[in-house]
């Protein structure tokens, strides 16, 4: 700007001082321009000297314009074995930091991460590096690069032995520059130093982001594993999967705790458990059935382990002579699930433990079965005052869990023969002593996860039991009638999927294991 003949805007030559001042201002303006509108500057520069032109940018909105024949590698496939190959990868931009002539960023794909390096060279221009460092975190990007082995393990990534040297970078879908929570913060163990962590409500409000953390990814993969192992085991034992209605006309277990809904001109209820229907399926000659589906509880309890809607894994089975046949099947099923998780999900478990440390889940094979009486005796010896026929309170349940753990070193056990008085009316009483019943609870880490029993399958006896419990017979007429045409002796039980996952992993809150949890205070998202 300052030419040989320094002339002011008014045409008058400038003094030396003014000249200097002007020069400074001009420099400032140039700097500002560079700072404020780097794109414009870049564009100009690109036109002239950008070597990487056409190798980076924002892709147009995908409307399925063209089907490109190109293999996209999974991040998990990038191993030292394919070093030297040029590959395309699509993933999210996890983190990015640039230092002048080079830029390191991490591409995340579900639980896998890989480090990518872009350094100024014949194929990567300065402008390209600038572009990369401007991409917002969590954007989906396509990267073409060469797989290279590294001399030092990259501790922060799952692919520790290789990195990618980028040649092309394209933005497929950009994320908003300001995220409601940072994935890094959400992945941090709580109470560690002074770095930020994200609280439960923020997580749940922005569940889509929260679910992207390695921990959440692992939790829900493991949860899927629980469900699959449950299905596989029972199917292999000859069970049939059934689907039961969720809108029902009457409450299945007493009147309380049900959601009422309008059903055209009358009222209906949301199913509290598939109890009735699985029993009817057994009576309908399916012999052994199981079902996986939502159940609803209108309990206004805001605890770490209650949800108003959760996934119930229920099973019901006709037996030959003794309900322990069923008890053993369920016990064996749990051992199978635990073993399957231990073998197939070791990585997920360790990933979750990194953020939420917990002791590994221990169990015995076959499952430990204690009598309720023995359990109460153990509690009494530990100084708890309670009656023989009293139900276990939550703290006592926990204490019993600890006592059993100390002695038998197992986090899973079965308590058999509960007092009849604390069980629902359809529970079969003990043949020798009417004080006890043929019912059982199962515990994981001292919390109840399954409650089941041999059911009364004789309609007359069922009426008698219902009368003892002062239940309106009209309301359960349909239930009683289903046993009138020949019903096999049967027993069963139900598990909450979220609770099993939570306790297996030793997590502190059931909301962590429910994809979009529903509790008395949360209906969205």
């Amino acid at each position: 700007m300052s030419g040989e003949e320094a002339i002011g805007p008014d045409g008058v030559p400038l003094s030396k001082k003014a000249l200097k001042k002007q020069q400074k201002e001009a420099e400032k303006a140039a700097k500002k321009a560079l700072h404020k509108k780097p794109n414009e500057g870049e564009k100009e520069e690109q036109e002239q000297e950008d070597l990487s032109k056409g190798h980076y940018g924002v892709l147009p909105l995908n409307q399925s314009q063209e089907r490109i024949q190109r293999r996209l590698y999974k991040v998990s496939e990038l191993v030292p074995g394919i070093a030297g190959q040029k590959v395309w990868v699509r993933g999210r931009l996890h983190t990015c930091r640039s230092k002048g002539k080079q830029c390191f960023f991490v591409i995340r794909q579900q639980k896998w991460t890989i480090q990518v390096m872009a350094a100024q060279s014949e194929v990567v221009s300065k402008q390209m590096i600038k572009f990369i460092s401007g991409i917002t975190a969590e954007s989906i990007i396509d990267v073409e690069g060469v797989v290279q082995t590294v001399s030092q393990k990259i501790q922060s990534c799952t692919q520790q032995d290789v990195e990618l040297h980028a040649h092309q970078v394209w933005v497929v879908s950009a994320a908003e520059p300001r995220l409601p929570l940072l994935i890094e913060d959400a992945s941090r163990p709580e109470g560690e130093g002074e770095l930020a962590t994200v609280n439960q409500d923020t997580r749940l409000d922005n569940r889509v982001l929260d679910l992207r953390t390695l921990t959440s990814q692992s939790i829900f993969r493991l949860e899927a594993g629980v469900c699959r192992l449950f299905r596989d085991y029972l199917t292999s034992k000859g069970f049939v999967e059934i689907h039961t209605p969720k809108i029902i006309s009457a409450a299945s277990e007493g009147g309380a705790n049900v959601f009422e809904v309008t059903y055209f001109k009358s009222k209906a209820y949301m199913a509290q458990s598939p109890q009735l229907y699985k029993q009817m399926a057994v009576c309908a000659e399916f012999d052994k059935v199981f079902t996986v589906g939502s159940v609803f509880r209108a309990e206004d309890s805001n605890t770490h382990r209650h949800l108003t809607e959760f996934i119930g894994l229920d099973l019901e089975m006709a037996f030959n002579y003794h309900y322990h046949e069923v008890l053993e099947v369920i016990g064996d099923m749990f051992v199978n699930i635990f073993k399957g998780l231990q073998e197939q999900y070791a990585e997920e478990i360790s990933l979750v433990n990194k953020q939420f440390p917990a002791e590994p889940f221990k169990f015995l094979e076959p499952s430990l079965i204690l009598n309720y009486k023995d359990g109460v005796e153990m509690l009494k010896q530990a100084g708890i005052e309670m009656g023989d026929e009293e139900d276990l309170s939550t703290p006592n349940e926990k204490l019993l869990g600890r006592l059993v753990k100390a002695k038998y070193d197992t986090d899973f056990f079965i308590l058999d023969k509960f007092p009849l008085a604390v069980r629902p009316f359809y529970t079969m009483p003990d043949p020798q002593n009417p004080k006890w019943s043929n019912s059982y609870d199962m515990f994981m880490r001292g919390e109840e996860i399954l409650s089941g029993a041999q059911r009364v399958h004789d309609p007359e006896f069922l009426i008698k039991r219902a009368q003892v419990h002062k239940i309106d017979l009209d309301k359960i007429k349909g239930y009683i009638d289903s046993f009138r045409y020949g019903a096999p002796p049967h027993a069963g039980g139900g598990i909450g999927l979220e609770r099993v996952t939570m306790l297996y992993l030793g997590l502190d809150n059931i909301r962590k294991t429910s994809l979009f949890p529903r509790d008395p205070k949360r209906l969205t998202p």
Binding site: F338, K339, Q342, E343, P360, F361, K362, F363, L364, E365, P366, L368, I369, N371, K373, D374, E377, Q381, A382, L403, A406, K407, Y408, D409, T410
Partner: protein, 333 residues
């Protein structure tokens, strides 16, 4: 006191204010021992007894007093025994020892065969309740002696036995171990003793847990065997102190030298077993007992059973023919 003197020394010389000592310290004679006790020997029992003039009469009186007090003690012990329903088997032994011990040295002759007759009595600490034992065992080091002891227990009591494998060894336990101990129809509720055999990774040998809130686990094969032996016969080592010591020595030999020792120690231990056995069939007594069981188990586990010295060889053969060792032998093949 200390505060006031220092303030006088360090403070300005012109006294701005004076402080009265807030505490008056008396000089207390501090004892140079932790506890003060009256001299035990200067008790008044006999010294002030003026009726007895001769030292011998004095001594006799003292002797009688001691006996009287012992009798009192004995009666109160037996009262307690009745109250808590302690097995009668132990009483005569204690009585004998107390009374005999004052007059003559304990008999060296064996009494164990006699006390075997008391088998069938309840273990002394069982009073209506079930004894629920958890034995944690490493599947790679099978403690044969414990299997034998468990079998012997189930001969004597109604025992509910069950075998578990812990998740720390899940998938690596062979089927024959998985079903090692099974109860033949005895329900948990109807039994006197419950044995839970758990295959598990254990750091310090087999582990026995009875009540974790009141005791630490008993560790080591021989120690667990001792516990089980006491369940079988509460007074197994109380009849004859010399013999009990000998047995103890054998048990320690099995644990410390054969099970935990290096090659040299093991060889030496087997040699000393050889010389101990001599012409005898069993290590101790006319029939195999805990010493034989533990030593046999240790010899088998440490691989000392091949090419042993003559006496040990003979002993091993008689073990393999005895019914006690049947199941455990089948574990070896």
């Amino acid at each position: 006191m200390a505060a006031s003197t220092t303030s006088l020394q360090n403070g300005p010389h012109g006294e701005m204010y004076t402080i009265k000592p807030f505490q008056i310290v008396e000089v207390i004679d501090m004892p140079n021992v932790m506890y003060n006790m009256k001299s035990y020997y200067s008790s008044t029992d006999y010294k002030e007894d003026s009726t007895a003039n001769t030292p011998i009469a004095n001594l006799e009186k003292r002797h009688d007093d001691v006996l009287k007090r012992l009798e009192q003690l004995q009666s109160s012990v037996s009262k307690l025994g009745e109250k808590y329903q302690v097995s009668k088997a132990t009483e005569p032994a204690i009585q004998a020892k107390v009374l005999e011990g004052t007059r003559k040295p304990p008999p060296v002759t064996s009494q164990l065969t006699g006390s075997r007759g008391t088998s069938g009595s309840k273990p002394m600490f069982i009073s209506g309740n079930v004894v629920d034992l958890v034995i944690n065992v490493d599947p790679s080091k099978i403690p044969l002696s414990l299997i034998i002891m468990c079998e012997r227990l189930s001969e004597q009591f109604t025992v509910h036995k069950s075998t578990y494998s812990h998740s720390s060894v899940s998938g690596t336990v062979p089927d024959r171990l998985q079903n090692l101990l099974t109860s033949n129809g005895i329900k948990r509720g109807d039994s006197q003793v419950v044995i839970n055999f758990v295959w598990k990774k254990v750091a310090y040998g087999p582990e026995l847990i009875v009540d974790p809130t009141r005791q630490t686990p008993i560790q080591g094969e021989v120690n667990v065997a001792r516990y089980l032996a006491r369940l079988l016969n509460p007074s197994w080592d109380q009849d004859d102190i010399v013999r009990a010591t000998q047995q103890d020595e054998l048990l320690d030999l099995a644990q410390l030298q054969i099970l935990e020792g290096n090659t040299k120690e093991r060889a030496a231990a087997v040699k000393s077993l050889n010389s101990l056995l001599g012409k005898k069939t069993w290590l101790d007594g006319e029939s195999p007992n805990i010493a034989d069981i533990c030593c046999w188990s240790a010899v088998q586990q440490s691989g000392q059973a091949s090419g042993p010295p003559a006496n040990v060889k003979k002993w091993l053969t008689s073990c393999s023919q005895h019914k006690f060792f049947e199941t455990a032998l089948s574990m070896l093949s």
